[in-house]
């Protein structure tokens, strides 16, 4: 039943905690559906152009560093594990585990972003792979390679932006968890943030093969 003193876990528009939890859950899933459509536009464009310009896209893909991409993939998968553990910790009210797992998730997320910025994009900029800034390519299919890199930077850029937002949200949750806000009666925020985090991870799982592994290099 609803508490009447300040800090009650039940918001006034809901009848009980179960309704509140279900609403939060459904709300986040719907938001993720909008995100699918948002990234979907990029994936649709990528698919069409890759179909039209296979050699150029393969050449572009070969210019990316698969090792770094694979490391980043592993980093994200681990972060999804720590996030899932954080959600579990919040549900059973284990504050210390929740704090640890949130911190680990944030660190892994930051690691992903840092690797991207310093090892990948900085290198791409120095090598002249950035369309609109300094793109130079002295091989065949130069135009389609440039188009590939348009999609590469837009797709990984939009993804990285979502990661930054995710890290920010987790930071806020960390501060709230530190103050002991979460427990078996109040954990929706962690769970919905978890859903968001897993989604951003899954987007990367699609991005990695489509951008890094095409063109049969093995």
């Amino acid at each position: 039943m609803a508490d009447s003193h300040a800090g009650s876990a039940l918001a006034h528009q809901f009848e009980d905690l179960e309704q509140q939890h279900d609403a939060a859950d459904l709300g986040m899933w719907i938001f993720l559906a909008t995100e699918v459509m948002f990234f979907g536009g990029l994936f649709a464009g990528y698919t069409i152009y890759r179909n039209l310009y296979e050699p150029g896209f393969a050449a572009g893909s070969h210019m990316l560093n698969v090792t770094i991409g694979a490391i980043n993939t592993a980093v994200l998968i681990c972060s999804s594990l720590t996030m899932a553990l954080a959600v579990r910790a919040a549900q059973i009210g284990k504050r210390s585990s929740l704090l640890t797992c949130l911190i680990l998730t944030i660190m892994l997320g930051l690691a992903f972003i840092l690797i991207k910025l310093t090892l990948e994009w900085r290198h791409d900029y120095l090598e002249g792979f950035v369309p609109g800034l300094n793109f130079t390519f002295a091989g065949p299919n130069a135009k389609s390679v440039e188009l590939f890199f348009c999609f590469y930077f837009t797709m990984t850029g939009v993804h990285a932006l979502h990661m930054v937002v995710g890290v920010g949200v987790l930071g806020v949750l960390l501060a709230q968890a530190w103050k002991g806000r979460f427990g078996p009666e109040r954990y929706n925020a962690v769970e919905t943030a978890g859903l968001y985090w897993h989604f951003v991870d899954i987007v990367w799982i699609f991005l990695f093969p489509l951008l890094y592994l095409i063109g049969g290099r093995y």
């Binding site: 609403a23 459509m37 948002f38 464009g45 069409i48 369309p131 837009t154």
Partner: protein
């Protein structure tokens, strides 16, 4: 009645449950947020309306009465951008939807009240960005932002206009999200899906479109911005890109968007027709399912905007067939409304006049859509005034009349006051006459070949253009009158009771205006919707 007037001042309701600007700007009450939206969209309607007035004055002369062609391009672009994105798309969902969804469903608020307030702020930021584009020299790409004009050749404020649309899209998405979760999870006990008022079915279908469609136009505008800023080349043939890809991505949202604009109005009409016939609506499940069918099929027809773009003829054939298909659920609604009227006890107050106007004008607009859905005729009609007439019959003759009907119908609930129905009926009649005089000549002049978006036209079309402009001046008068008496009524109108129309629905079982929490106790629903005469 003095006691009722005193009651209005002493009883606590959502309008007097807090004074001062902070209580409005920081409210999470869905009813106050609805009023914030009502003020905002009225303002943006004026912006788009001023552009329309200037266009119609300019078109009195075949060589253009006032403006340079470049300025004319900016006028129709800004008219389209403000009317579509900052008036039509939010109108019924953000105003009537926000106010009514929780009340009709028997809830105390939407699922996410703070998100609701955030939606309004996001909308205002988007609107300010678009206003900036207007004030700092305008944008001339049309509301459709076609490439390569928008990405490469335009030297107007494309970026800020596109950014304004991009930002306001998130307002649309979050409002839709809020409604879907509310309808799924917060229905009062006994309110099964098939006992919901049809307005809620319409809002649900609209919300599905808002949720799934808007993100696509968002990413498309991001790509346009990137191409404009960095010359990256997704739509640029010089790099192997394709400008038609822009059209596909743009229309994938913008066609469903037109159903965002009409479905809520259809929901309003369902409510009006049944109340003012004092008869249960005919074919409830047909109308409910047709709303969902429209939402689904609307995502499959975008190519009918691109028949002459160079897309494959086979794609054109499929899109044409599907466009015929999407007309069917709309027609089903019209038949059911008409059957509701039959042998009903029909009264003709202002809301009903708007509903009847909707049925007639929407039908005309819808039928002309079939001309445009047919490949052979569209080849001649595409980009002529026939198209302009078609969508204005639907959006103005249909959606705006539905909006006005809904505002009049629920005005007593929203404000606790009655407006003067004599003036309201006069305004409705003036609007109907002015509307037809404005837009019927556009069908004719379009059929005769006058292109749209041109600042000049051949002299033989002048008579019809002058008729259209004359009609626009009458229409403007018609729109001004409700502004006057509705505002007047807020202070001087007779106090309304809980249910001045004798309508069925949970919103009518609360006082007018309702208390902040809507219901003392969450109601239990025991009867079907529209249980008139029982």
């Amino acid at each position: 009645m003095a006691t009722a007037a005193v009651d209005l001042d002493t009883r606590v309701h959502y309008l007097n449950a807090g004074y001062g600007i902070k209580s409005w700007l920081l409210t999470t009450d869905h009813k106050r947020i609805a009023i914030l939206y009502m003020a905002s969209i009225t303002f943006f309607f004026l912006v788009g309306g001023i552009a329309a007035v200037l266009i119609r004055i300019h078109l009195i002369e075949p060589n253009g009465a006032i403006f340079e062609p470049g300025t004319y391009n900016k006028l129709f672009s800004m008219h389209g951008i403000f009317m579509v994105f900052f008036f039509m798309i939010p109108s019924i969902p953000a105003v009537l939807g926000n106010f009514l969804v929780p009340m009709m469903i028997g809830a105390r608020d939407l699922a996410f009240p703070k998100l609701n307030l955030l939606s309004w702020y996001i909308f205002m930021v988007g609107g300010c960005l678009a206003l900036y584009a207007v004030i700092w020299g305008g944008v001339d790409t049309g509301w459709t932002f076609y490439t390569p004009l928008s990405t490469t050749y335009a030297n107007t404020n494309v970026l800020s206009a596109a950014l304004g649309v991009f930002v306001s899209g998130f307002s649309s998405i979050l409002t839709g999200l809020n409604f879907v979760v509310t309808i799924h999870k917060m229905r009062a006990p006994g309110m099964t899906w098939f006992r919901m008022p049809l307005f809620l079915w319409a809002m649900y279908a609209t919300s599905i479109i808002q949720i799934l469609g808007t993100p696509v136009v968002a990413i498309t505008l991001v790509l346009v911005a990137l191409e404009r800023l960095f010359h990256v080349g997704v739509f640029d043939p010089a790099v192997g890109g394709d400008p038609i890809l822009f059209q596909h991505l743009f229309w994938f949202y913008s066609h469903p968007a037109v159903y965002i604009m009409i479905l809520p109005s259809m929901g309003v009409v369902s409510e009006l027709v049944t109340c003012f016939s004092k008869k249960r609506i005919f074919g409830y499940s047909f109308i409910a399912f047709s709303s969902v069918a429209i939402a689904v099929i609307s995502f499959l027809v975008w190519g009918h905007h691109m028949f002459v773009s160079g897309q494959s003829i086979y794609a054109g054939i499929v899109f044409s067939a599907l466009s015929f298909l999407v007309a069917i659920p709309s027609a089903i609604k019209v038949f059911n409304w008409t059957a509701t009227l039959y042998k009903g006890s029909v009264s003709y107050q202002a809301p009903m006049l708007y509903a009847l106007g909707f049925i007639g004008l929407f039908t005309m607009g819808g039928l002309t859509g079939l001309f445009l859905a047919t490949l052979a005729t569209d080849t001649h009609l595409h980009d002529t005034y026939f198209v302009v007439g078609h969508f204005h019959y639907i959006m103005v003759g249909g959606a705006v009349m539905g909006y006005l009907g809904g505002i009049h119908f629920w005005w007593p609930k929203i404000t606790g006051r009655l407006y003067p129905d004599g003036w309201a009926r006069l305004a409705a009649a003036i609007i109907f006459i002015g509307f037809n005089l404005t837009f019927f000549p556009q069908y004719m002049v379009g059929y005769l070949g006058m292109p749209r978006r041109y600042a000049i036209y051949p002299p033989e079309f002048q008579v019809l253009n002058v008729m259209s402009s004359a009609g626009a001046s009458i229409l403007a008068v018609g729109y001004a009158i409700p502004l006057v008496y509705l505002i007047w009524s807020m202070r001087y109108g007779p106090v309304a009771g809980p249910n001045p129309w004798g309508a069925k629905g949970l919103e009518w079982e609360t006082p007018s205006p309702p208390p902040t929490e809507n219901f003392e106790e969450i109601p239990v629903v025991r009867e079907e919707a529209y249980a008139y005469g029982e």
